[in-house]
């Protein structure tokens, strides 16, 4: 079994890379890109097999990479691979995106698959860069100024995140006494490392940028607004999970770190409410979904925080399950925007009911996958304040998602054309799958799905949803008009600060022009001589 799994793991990366290689031959390029829906199949298989059983670690010869698959990673891998397969197949059936888009897509896919199976620092860093940076090409190669802006902001955060993580990883590596770069080893050494706190801070900040953690949330609404629907579905569904798996992999498990736990939980809940509040101010369904992502990722962050607070060792599985559910539902919701925009007014009640179920699944509506996700998180949010905060966030989510359903009637322009026709036609199936697939996995990975059917649980799940929906309807009835908040809220301040930063450019230019004058350069050289001499003569 392990041999098969090892082969599948290697194939998971080899398949998209082989297609990428084929893109270099002009004759094969279009064919290769059209076939890329096949590339995640090994990953899907690996994910399904790896979901049960012990973690598997394989060192690749020559390249020096380590591949690693544990059940939480496998779950996310399987679900992400399925999403990539479905969307890629539909997209390339419907139209023929150009080479730049295709290659960006393939690179992002490779990185996305890779983050779930990378087992050492360097290869994780590599695939993490792959899932972050080429995604720029999926929405920003355009002359539209808003898209360019979104692209630039996205890339700025991606690169900044990379830089922060680079330093974090270097510290992790430095703290490992035997020079092993395997994530398992460095994480084992982390609690005793002298750089523990600095590394943790950087890790939280770095992955926080990927999951839109407040205050690094501004890029996400801009990005999803600018991205075409299939791209937004993938990035919000699968792409963001690179940050989640990052936190799962690089936060210590089974170790109690009170300070970090409290901080993480606090910032997580803050993000959860922040997303709801700012999402309510928006009317564009894509943007609302983006804020919902910020909120949901906040819940995940909070869960990881409470795990750290209590020293829970198995939080990673719970969080992974929650994210897997979010992955499916959020992607389906983005497709819903496209499907509804295409269908226009000819909407059957079945469709509408499905959409409602999908939207409220995020809030934990009983009988949906969301209910299971909530159940899975229960150990993290067990008890007093934390439990209350979690319930409040469920109410908020229900509120926000009802707002989303209300805004579906006015889809953003182009939504109908963006969504591949295949996905519009089969939308009910997709939505149903998103609602039901979690049930299939929950049992498989050792959860007890029947618990979710207990009357008490159903009641527990139902009332926050009801409160949220009622609140939303009440707000609608009151014709409450929210303040006008720009998409991406705090990002405008960041952009302003950046523009101010650009003012140092001329300062540097002046400095450089002056230093490049002959006398200045000559004097600099004399100063260098004198200072080196002084440095030497004055000892040490």
């Amino acid at each position: 079994m392990n041999d098969l799994l090892s082969i599948l793991l290697v194939a998971s990366l080899a398949a998209p890379l082989a297609l990428l290689g084929a893109c270099f031959v002009k004759r094969w390029r279009q064919r290769a890109l059209a076939l890329q829906w096949l590339a995640p199949i090994p990953s899907l298989a690996a994910g399904l097999i790896g979901m049960t059983g012990a973690p598997l670690s394989r060192d690749l010869p020559v390249l020096g990479f380590t591949l690693y698959l544990d059940p939480p990673g496998a779950l996310l891998l399987a679900v992400a691979a399925a999403l990539w397969i479905v969307v890629s197949a539909a997209l390339w059936r419907a139209r023929r995106p150009d080479g730049r888009f295709g290659v960006s897509w393939l690179l992002t896919m490779t990185g996305n698959i890779g983050v779930f199976i990378a087992g050492d620092l360097v290869s994780f860093y590599l695939v993490y860069a792959l899932v972050s940076i080429p995604a720029y090409g999926l929405f920003a190669f355009s002359n539209d100024s808003e898209q360019k802006r979104a692209g630039a902001v996205y890339l700025a955060f991606a690169i900044l995140g990379e830089a922060v993580l680079l330093l974090a990883f270097v510290m992790l590596q430095a703290g490992e006494p035997h020079a092993s770069a395997r994530i398992v080893d460095v994480m084992g050494a982390l609690p005793a490392s002298p750089w523990r706190d600095a590394a943790l801070g950087l890790i939280i900040a770095g992955f926080g940028m990927k999951i839109g953690m407040v205050p690094f949330n501004g890029w996400m609404p801009l990005n999803y607004k600018a991205a075409p629907i299939p791209v937004a579905a993938l990035l919000s569904g699968a792409g963001v999970k690179a940050g989640v798996i990052g936190l799962i992999r690089f936060l210590p498990h089974g170790v109690t770190l009170e300070g970090w736990g409290v901080a993480l939980a606090a910032i997580g809940f803050l993000s959860a409410y922040y997303g709801v509040v700012f999402g309510l101010t928006q009317r564009n369904p894509k943007v609302i979904l983006a804020y919902s992502s910020i909120s949901q990722m906040g819940v995940i962050t909070a869960a990881l925080g409470t795990a750290l607070l209590a020293g829970h060792a198995d939080a990673s599985f719970n969080v992974a399950f929650y994210s897997a559910n979010h992955l499916l539902v959020k992607a389906a919701l983005f497709l819903t925007i496209g499907a509804f925009a295409t269908r226009g007014t000819r909407l059957s009640p079945v469709w509408f009911a499905l959409a409602v179920a999908l939207a409220l699944s995020l809030a934990g509506l009983p009988l949906t996958g969301g209910a299971l996700a909530k159940l899975a998180m229960k150990p993290q949010f067990d008890g007093g304040t934390v439990g209350l905060l979690a319930t409040l966030s469920s109410i908020g989510t229900a509120l926000l998602m009802t707002h989303f359903l209300g805004c579906l009637a006015e889809p953003p322009s182009g939504a109908a054309e963006e969504c591949p026709s295949g996905l519009v036609r089969s939308w009910p199936a997709v939505a149903l799958a998103a609602l039901l697939v979690p049930w299939a996995f929950y049992e498989g990975v050792g959860g007890d799905a029947s618990k979710a059917l207990h009357f008490g649980e159903i009641l527990d799940g139902l009332w926050p949803v009801v409160i949220g929906v009622v609140l939303a309807l009440a707000l609608r009835r009151m014709a409450w008009s929210p303040p006008d908040v720009p998409v991406g809220d705090s990002i405008v301040f960041a952009e302003r600060a950046y523009l101010r930063l650009l003012n140092v450019g001329p300062v540097f230019e002046g400095l450089d022009a002056r230093l490049r004058q002959w006398p200045a350069a000559g004097l600099s050289l004399l100063l260098i001589i004198l200072s080196l001499l002084t440095a030497g003569v004055s000892g040490r």
Binding site: P519, G522, L523, L526, L527, I529, L530
Partner: protein, 317 residues
């Protein structure tokens, strides 16, 4: 006490004064002339340092050939623009530069005074080795140049070839292949012609002599070659000889003859003496003289070509 120490101090002061004038003179040409004088004065300092070989070199190259080079250039530039660009440094900058330059010079002077005593020297080793690998060359400097540091010497000759190629690369494209015309005076001064006619035969003899005696007494390939070069330069200035075309095969071969023979000999050293650039002890001296003869040729051609500059339009009418 002899009068020599006072002479030394006086000479040093004179050298510094002329150098200062070179830096301070307002006019470009005055500065150039001052530098040439400085080069000649410096030769005396070298004699006082018991460095006759260097003094010869300094006189021939530092004073002579460089002098012609700079004066020609100074004249041409002076004809074009006397002052150069009118960017004058401010007082503050001058002061700062002065202070920093003085600090560096002061640091240098103090470390020179702090040089260790007794001084380290390779003279004993050179003296001991001179009879074996030095191959019976009476002039230790020639021994060092041609044997111990032969690699440097060959490289230096290649640097000369490269400098010639570099100078030629400044040609305008249309003029490529023609001869340089460095001395644009339509009619040379009569005294120059006379001097050239007088000096050519004598100078040639002296040059060959300097090279030949260089094996045992002060002098050697470089000094001999430099003298021959000077003669050629003077004859060109007197228009008694025209510079050759830069694409003349003989010219190219003469330029690389020295380093090429050196290189080939260095290669064969591996087979006849067991090591690259080694000489078989029994025939070391003749081989060295053989190589030096070609080096004299190369130097005697390279220096005038460097002075003559790139080939120019209208020189081949």
């Amino acid at each position: 006490m002899s009068v020599l120490p006072y002479l030394d101090v006086g000479l040093a002061l004179l050298v510094v004064a002329v150098a200062a004038w070179t830096v301070a003179a307002r006019a470009l040409f005055a500065s150039v002339v001052s530098y040439v004088a400085y080069g000649l004065l410096l030769a005396f300092v070298w004699i006082r340092l018991y460095a006759p070989d260097v003094a010869l070199t300094e006189a021939a190259v530092g004073g002579g050939v460089t002098g012609v080079l700079l004066i020609t250039a100074g004249k041409r530039l002076g004809a074009l623009h006397d002052i150069g660009p009118d960017v004058r440094p401010g007082v503050g900058l001058k002061l700062l530069t002065g202070v920093l330059a003085a600090l560096v010079a002061g640091a240098l002077a103090s470390v020179i005074l702090l040089l260790p005593d007794p001084p380290p020297s390779l003279a004993p080793e050179a003296s001991a080795a001179i009879d074996s690998a030095g191959a019976g060359l009476g002039n230790p400097i020639t021994a060092v140049l041609m044997s111990y540091r032969s690699f440097d010497t060959m490289l230096e000759k290649i640097v000369l070839v490269l400098a010639v190629a570099g100078v030629w690369s400044m040609t305008a494209d249309e003029a490529w292949g023609r001869a340089p015309s460095p001395f644009r005076r339509s009619r040379p001064y009569a005294p120059t012609i006379f001097l050239a006619q007088m000096l050519a035969p004598i100078g040639t003899l002296i040059g060959i002599h300097v090279f030949w005696t260089g094996a045992n007494a002060p002098g050697g390939a470089f000094q001999g070659g430099a003298l021959l070069a000077a003669i050629w330069i003077i004859t060109m200035m007197a228009r008694l000889a025209e510079p050759p075309r830069v694409d003349a095969r003989w010219l190219r071969m003469a330029l690389v003859a020295g380093p090429a023979v050196f290189l080939v000999n260095g290669l064969t050293g591996e087979f006849v003496a067991g090591s690259f650039f080694a000489y078989p002890p029994s025939v070391a001296k003749p081989i060295i003289l053989f190589i030096e003869a070609f080096m004299v040729l190369s130097i005697a051609v390279a220096l005038p070509m460097l002075v003559a500059g790139p080939s120019s339009e209208g020189s081949d009418q």
